[in-house]
Amino acid sequence: MTTTPLLDVRGLSIALPPGADRPLAVDNLTFTLNPDEILCVVGESGSGKSMTAHAMMGLLPAPHVRVAGGSLLFKGKDVLTMPEAEQRALRGGRIAMVFQEPMTALNPLMRVGRQIGESLREHTDLPAPARRARVVELLAQVGLPNPAELAEAYPFRLSGGQRQRVMIAMALACQPDILIADEPTTALDVTTQKQILDLIRSIQAERHMGMMFITHDFGVVAEIAHRVAVMRHGKLVEYGPASDVLNRPQHPYTRQLIASVPHYIEHRDDHAKAGAPLLVADKVRKVFHVGGGLFKKSKEVIAGDDLSLTIHPGETVGLVGESGSGKSTLGRSIVGLIKPDSGRILFEGTDLLSLDRRGFRPYRRAVQMVFQDPYASLNPRHRVGDIVAQGPVAFGEDRAKALTRARELLAMVGLDGSAADRFPHEFSGGQRQRIGIARALAMEPKLLVADEPVSALDVSVQGQVLELLDDIRRRLNLAMLFITHDLRVAAQVCDTIAVMRRGKIVELGTAREVFTHPRDAYTRSLLDAIPGKAWQIPDDLQQVPAGAH
């Protein structure tokens, strides 16, 4: 093809303010985007992929971050040297953008129809009634039900998936030539992600737009990309047609990224259940009361109903489901953070729910939790050594002894000895999650409840943390309840899988059964929604999944 590229990025450099971890966020970046193609820009957090998009849209946080060199040619004209008015005409008009976080990307105080209409008002001279009609048409095009009614709704009435559709409708309003999508599905559930990816792909094909799709997920890349650009530390490390990059990656970094993509085809051998179960959850039910007041009845939300499962020593049970399915509710009930309304939770035969505070105390030691957000779950004003030692000290352990033990544990989770004297903010996300795990292990628990322990981490780091958890499980014969929304992760670490939907367990079985012969329709739709399942990771990069024998 000899078409001129829509977008021609030449030697783009973006400077970070002095004192940042590196001088250039984006370093001498060169690539092109053609009409009617999807270019996936892949990289981990901090690789500069979003910065590139922001530079194109004039969204860099001036004056700290600025373009230091190079050019951004849109149809042969440099966007960076255009006067502001001309740039504004491009933004939202010729080049549109969809953001990662649909929950916060819409103005909460403005009806969604008006937010879309604003774009039309700015870039077209349609009169108000025509704009309104166009908005309804756009909402219908992105597959939203009752578009006329929905245009009058405020964003808080819409689900995450619906909001992302509204964002897409907004981006499409003026028929742009280029659509930039910055991790548009990362914040969504798998099934919603699949719908949005399908929508984006069909709209792109229909309108022959050039699309720059930013993601960290190679599964998504395999699903939609025509060409792929891999970025690391602001530099382009690999760039080529999707089939080449996915199946014959050249650069070691690309190979490493692809190797750490979890894929569900592998599952563990069945776990040999030995002895009495460590934990039995029996018909646990929890109802939350939302709202309500002096004169108003509160709304009931059933977070968990009839939840039963068992965990044997050394077994890892995965609790899989989408947001709001009640999986965290069960996890928190077992740790004792929430009190269920009915049912029993038996730990080594003792019903935890029948105990009072004092009686429950010994079991707080035996059941420990690893939290989702490594940034929020560590007290920023305590030293890491103290954070790890705190639990045992609270249970009467000698402080000096506990600190020594803390250092051993930190070494065990792969941090060096000096870590104990430092503060949490000095560590990366993956390192903090290691600290969180060491903290849980300090109590010498028998059961570890890990609530989405890797979902806030980059893929390569995610792989390391999963390996660590598995290593610990084997060494200490620890039982684990592993809560996750990601089936690929669950496949990697779990012996038994419980699939949850709307507060109920819809399928419970060994990982092998669930992944090879799913019985429930919902499980099948979850498996079907995994992005990139048609893509086979190149043989030489397939790693033995943790825990497989």
Partner: protein, 326 residues
């Protein structure tokens, strides 16, 4: 809109309950005074022989059981009878009715001025953050916030009335001029300028600071990025997206302060000899005029409740999410 009516109704019911609690508290406050109310009244009336006190007790039903007295008291309040000031030899309601308009004119004007100027200055400061305009506004706001309000009042009146002779230094109207109609309105307005500016400066400073901080916070939110990506102009982004969201905390604080305005103007009314509720309260305290004080207490309580309801309604109108979560 049904949710809105429901919200309003439930607010009114709660307000009524609070009001009854205040009235009951009022009643027990009278009884907490040394001696019984009859003694107090007798003392205030200036005659204190035993027969007069007994007569008073019978007259006001003070020999009846407490609950019966409470019932009578509440009944009177409901009918709008706030009692009788022996000190001034007039019904309390008449005294309050005479003073209330002056205070309301002063405080409401000051409040509206403070809100408008404060939000405008705060917005300007946020938009020009880091420049000399921002620094100037921030410094002026800090000064106005930190300087004692009566000192500003004194200095303003010293400068504009005594030095320049432009504006009257005190009072509500020109005594003895006997203006009527528009001339009267103009006369009161001229008298109003200095006290209003003094009172407004303080509140304006806090709204300006609040608006600036809130705007800067909202400016970094995702939906502002969305607005920019739509190619909207700077002014539209600021008014439609940033300010609209940033104003919410300002409404909350303004609502709380609006309730206090009636009672909070004592200093200003004293400095400018403004014949309002604030000064009346001050005088009543000095003179131990309990009946008047309790009347003021009731009236200011009603004002606070009223402004709270108004704030809630306004909030419901500005933020659509409120009606649902309530």
């Amino acid at each position: 809109m049904l949710g809105f009516a429901q919200l309003f109704a439930s607010r009114l019911v709660k307000a009524a309950a609070i009001l009854i609690a205040i009235v009951v508290m009022n009643f027990f406050l009278v009884h907490a005074a040394p001696g019984d109310p009859a003694m107090v009244m007798a003392g205030e009336a200036g005659a204190a022989d035993e027969k007069f006190v007994t007569q008073l007790r019978e007259q006001f039903g003070l020999d009846r059981p407490l609950y019966e007295q409470l019932g009578t008291y509440v009944g009177k309040i409901v009918q709008g009878d706030l009692g009788f000031s022996y000190r001034q030899q007039r019904p309390v309601w008449d005294i309050l009715a005479e003073r209330l308009p002056a205070t309301l004119v002063l405080t409401l004007t000051a409040f509206i001025l403070a809100l408008a100027a404060g939000v405008a200055l705060g917005t300007l400061a946020a938009v020009t953050v880091g420049t000399w305009a921002d620094s100037a506004i921030t410094v002026v706001a800090l000064l106005a916030y930190a300087t004692p309000i009566y000192w500003i009042g004194l200095m303003l009146s010293l400068f504009f009335s005594i030095q320049l002779g432009w504006l009257p230094a005190f009072g509500y109207e020109t005594i003895g001029a006997g203006y009527t109609g528009l001339a009267h309105v103009a006369d009161v307005a001229v008298h109003l300028i200095l006290p209003v500016i003094t009172l407004a400066l303080f509140y304006m400073a806090s709204y300006a600071r609040l608006t600036r901080a809130s705007m800067l916070e909202v400016r970094s939110l995702d939906f502002v990025k969305t607005a920019k990506a739509k190619g909207l102009s700077q002014s539209r982004i600021v008014t439609r997206h940033v300010l609209r969201n940033a104003i919410l905390p300002v409404i909350t604080v303004a609502g709380i302060q609006a309730g206090q305005l009636v009672g909070g103007s004592i200093l200003i009314e004293t400095v400018f000899a403004w014949p309002g509720i604030g000064r009346l309260a001050f005088e009543a305290v000095l003179q131990r005029d309990y009946q008047v004080l309790l009347g003021i207490f009731l009236v200011t309580s009603i004002m606070v409740i009223l402004f709270n309801i108004l704030t809630d309604i306004l909030y419901g109108l500005v933020d659509p999410r409120i009606q649902v979560s309530q």
